[in-house]
Symmetry: C2
Subunit: 638 residues, 2 copies
């Protein structure tokens, strides 16, 4: 057996042709990771999501029996890569659905969608004072009457242009400063970066290129990583790009990824993945806009606490263990190169501050963007992603919590769920004659259903009496209800030439209800704790990657949001990246974000006795207690 | 000829046995440098100091003719290493006078002398608040009710102990922090260092060893490097050590060293020398006191501007060229390891701020130590080293200047001059019967004359009428006057068994008078510019390596210092290191030093029309204008 393990097998993946050598007995999913082949995997290799299907074309292998494959699939040598061991040289075909190429095409559309941010206009409320600036600085050369040393001469000149009471200069910059100043005739471009209360001289160059200073804002989502390229001289967003978080191979949610990293001592690998994702986004935008990477002097990141930990390779393991502690909430600015991010080698990497292990800087960014921390009235901020985070409060107080809602509204755990990418059903109605009417992202044939479409589907099935208040299909009510492989399902789109069948299953509906119940229970727990009634809430801000045609009314219909007048509910899109950009462009905004993070009181729902009770009550449509949803018309009072 | 240069010759130096291979035609002095052999050299290889004498035992060489060698010496194959080219393999004997071993023995005594600092008691005037501190920090471990992240938990704990509004932590420390805190049970030793307005977390260790924190203060003299080892927990100086500045091979004064470095692109080499000197001092003290180098967390340096530039490898070349500009006056703290200094690898290196190219941080240290910046009355501070720097002022204003006095009072350019080391005549009187009475450092037989002895000699020769007011020997006045190889000389010590003859020559006296005249002219120029009269001066503080038995009255007799009552004149020793220690032990003292440096107005004497006139007038004993020295009795009114 020992000897057996020594034997090497060559695995070739088609159609990419990528190859990797692994010891006999290796898991095929890991071989794919090693080869750089992207395989969809939601459960992180535990063998229950059934997403990592591949076809073995040639060679010997051994697969664990699984109910996730039909006998037909097994006959065709289709296997779950995570349940298959390599026993000889193999040739493996990766179905097109896995490939990054496909993802990439979808992401182009994603990026455009994410760039339309309602919160973005708010950035202008802070004075323009970017965290990193390139200053055109002109000094008079030393004379007998003015023999100020070069270092102090530069400081005086910088202070004429920006407010910088405390300054720092790296040793290498200091060493090269005199020759540089002389060669440039004391006319230079100085890049300064703000680090806490200190201003660092990051770089000194001859003054050509003084006008080219760029930065990248990144939303580190568990599922999707979005980046915007900004011109720091004009404050304009000049490009956007998005990609799937390629850590997804190690688990759909970040808890699974932490477990994977811990069990396999793969923290470096996890960091590597997310860093490469960020680098790819940066390089793609820079190439497209013909921006020199050396002219990108800052990257600012916003994301959940775990993602920030992965990016910086900070120990994330206690995020998942009581008492749920982060390694750092307020991460100091570091040299981007220290984390492996390939911009100017002395450029800075900033991370927005987070509140707790389960309320990350993306939520702080949301509070900043929606400005609920400035208002006299009470606001509610809800961010639906892989988790559902909730913030309640006003200028005087802010409370927050995270529900492990699960990624159902991101399309995961839903048979035909998908992200808000090309072909996704983003809007859906069931007409009085029973016809299902829908629109897709990009207008093409439907490929699946994204968040806003799923919310519509759940609401329409309920309003039209196809499901009852517990979410159960009313069997016999509609001929499109049938029993499939995975139990009862409702056909939303019938199969035609060039168009697949799209259904929603009982399991999908249960998942969606669990998600919305988790979110609503979190909202209720915070409201109860602070004695806030729905009528007290002046504004509800819903953030997340639903897609831009989110019908916010539906969120009340299904009981995800409290029953407030619909005009008070605002879909604000990706506030994580909007907040990151706001902070990037204003030192005052960063200070404000830090104040917000310091001020937000975190409620740990896991240890909160009321939460589970609220959750159970919220598992009805819209809720057990119909008095909480007077505006929702309920056909049958179960 | 091209081929000739390719040929390699092996040069062996005795008695050390050190060898080096050099191309045929190489200069022997440079071969010695390359071999790591210490040769005394004052002129930096220009062939006029005659100090780099060695004996060629075997092999071929070619020497330029020189008047500095007697025909006898030439017959014995004694050569000036700087004027000799290597033509074949050579064996060379280095006379004992050159060897570091001898220097080392002398330095032990030097170190003891330098450690007796009158200014040191003043340090206590600043609150004890060292630049680097090791704090014992105990935190409660995270709980469900207190899930503060580790990074912020540490900050809160540090801020309970010290004032640190703005903090920074390096990325590597941040990464290892969580595991370290957990392993240590949240009880750690935290080393924090002050960097401008920022407090940096330098290191986090388990709390054993919380009590061992050391630092080294260094006076970077052009001739001598002095270091003190301090216990940062008790503020005590636990050891002292000194060595010659081994850059001396490249020139006696720093201007020559800058020229050498420029001509030979030897900046790295110059840095290497001084860094190694500092490292040797640190290692010597650490070994003797059984201090782990890892427990030395800071080094603080004070010295002239050029020496600080050499230490940090900052471009010093414009120090010697109009308009005489430094690369940096206020050098930010850096990682000591960045400069090659071998203490804790994350320990900090601080440099005191300087005023100008020719008024360095040693002078700022002097002002700090003597506290003249706090006084209502006018004070005069004079530091006699290789240069003579002068500061005049009070709490409201400070003016300063540097005279290129030359190192005569350090024993250079004086036939039997030497530093204040074992055997140096430090006190000398000529009795009424003409007998020369003297005491030596260590009490042994006289080896030469140090600064205080030279001042005595000049004053006694003058007071006893052996020289006239211009410094000329009165030929025939005393039988000890004779004509030697270098012109007229006066025999101070007659040769006996085991005791060498010690003389002072006309050239020596001319050098000493030039030095004192330079200093006095600088003082007068500052006094004239500020309209200060001698009677306005409340205190005169004389600093330098004269030796502890300096008779300050003599400094008035020869006209080096203005004629103020002798009780107002204080010899303050090495204020450079005293100031460095004061700053090391108190953040407030560093701020004060920065304020002082910012406040001092520099007078460039080279471009000052009055200075040369004052210098010419000061070349008399005590001065051309005797009305300036009413207390000095002058025998003959020339």
């Amino acid at each position: 057996m020992g000897q057996e393990k020594e034997r090497k097998c060559l695995v070739q993946f088609e159609p990419s042709g990528l190859r990797v050598e692994v010891p006999a007995g290796a898991i095929l999913l890991e071989a794919a990771h090693k080869a750089g082949v992207y395989l969809t995997s939601i459960c992180g290799g535990d063998g229950y999501c059934g997403k990592c299907k591949v076809v073995i074309d040639a060679g010997q292998f051994k697969s664990r029996p699984t109910a996730l494959l039909t006998p037909e699939e097994t006959r065709e040598n289709i296997v779950l890569a995570c349940q298959t061991r390599v026993l000889s040289d193999l040739t493996v075909t990766v179905p097109k659905s896995h490939t990054l190429e496909t993802s990439q095409i979808l992401m182009d559309s994603d990026a455009r969608r994410f760039s339309q941010l309602k919160g973005e206009a708010e950035a202008g409320l802070f004075e323009f004072d970017p965290l990193v600036q390139k200053l055109c600085v002109e000094m008079s050369a030393p004379t007998v009457r003015d023999h100020t040393a070069d270092h102090e001469r530069l400081y005086v000149a910088i202070r004429r242009v920006v407010d910088a009471p405390i300054m720092q200069t790296g040793f290498r910059i200091l060493q090269k400063l005199p020759s540089l100043l002389q060669e440039a005739g004391y006319k230079v471009a100085v890049t300064v970066g703000r680090r806490g209360g200190t201003t660092e001289v990051i770089e000194v160059d001859p003054d050509r290129g003084c006008k080219t200073n760029f930065a990248v804002a990144v939303d580190l989502g568990t599922t999707t990583v979005v980046a915007h390229l900004l011109d720091l001289n004009t404050a304009e967003t000049i490009d956007t790009e998005a990609t799937y978080n390629s850590q997804i191979n190690f688990g759909e949610d970040y808890i699974r990824r932490i477990i994977y990293a811990e069990q396999n001592n793969a923290f470096d690998q996890l960091q590597d993945r997310i860093v490469q994702d960020v680098n790819n986004l940066i390089v793609t935008m820079a190439a497209r806009q013909k921006v020199d990477l050396q002219d990108i002097t800052a990257v600012i990141c916003s994301g959940n606490t775990a993602m920030v930990h992965f990016l910086l390779n900070l120990d994330p393991t206690r995020i998942r263990r009581e008492p749920y502690v982060a390694s750092a909430g307020f991460v100091p600015p570091i040299r981007a190169a220290e984390a492996g991010i390939q911009i100017n080698k002395r450029g800075l990497l900033y991370c927005l501050p987070s509140v707790a292990a389960y309320v990350g800087s993306d939520i702080v960014a949301g509070v900043l963007t929606t400005r609920i921390y400035t208002k006299n009235e009470i606001s509610l901020f809800v961010d639906i992603g892989t988790n559902g985070e909730v913030v309640l409060g006003n200028r005087d107080w802010l409370v927050c919590a995270s529900s492990s809602a699960g990624p159902a509204f991101e399309g995961s755990g839903v048979k035909h769920g998908m992200r808000a990418a090309a072909g996704a059903i983003e809007k859906l109605n069931i007409l009085t004659d029973g016809t299902v009417e829908f629109t897709t992202v990009g207008g093409g044939p439907p490929a699946g259903i994204c968040g806003s479409g799923l919310l519509d589907t759940l609401a329409e099935l309920f309003v039209n009496g196809i499901i009852d208040r517990t979410g159960r299909f009313k069997i016999g009510k509609d001929e499109r209800l049938s029993e499939g492989d995975e139990g009862w399902q409702f056909q939303l789109v019938a199969p035609q030439a060039g168009q697949r069948e799209i259904v929603i299953t009982q399991a999908d509906i249960d998942n969606l209800i669990r998600s919305k119940a988790g979110v609503f229970a979190a909202i209720r727990t915070l409201m109860n704790s602070t004695q806030i009634k729905p009528g007290d809430i002046d504004g509800v801000y819903l953030a997340g990657g639903f897609g831009n045609f989110l019908n916010v009314e539906r969120a009340v219909t299904v009981g995800m949001l409290p029953d407030v007048p619909v005009e008070r509910i605002h879909f604000v899109g990706n506030t994580s990246i909007a907040g990151a950009k706001t902070v990037l462009l204003s030192r005052k905004a960063l200070e404000t974000a830090e104040e917000i993070a310091g001020k937000m009181t975190y409620f740990d729902l896991m240890s909160h006795p009321e939460y589970m009770e609220e959750f159970i009550q919220a598992k009805f449509l819209p809720h057990t207690d119909l008095l909480l949803f007077p505006s929702v018309t309920v056909a049958d009072k179960v």
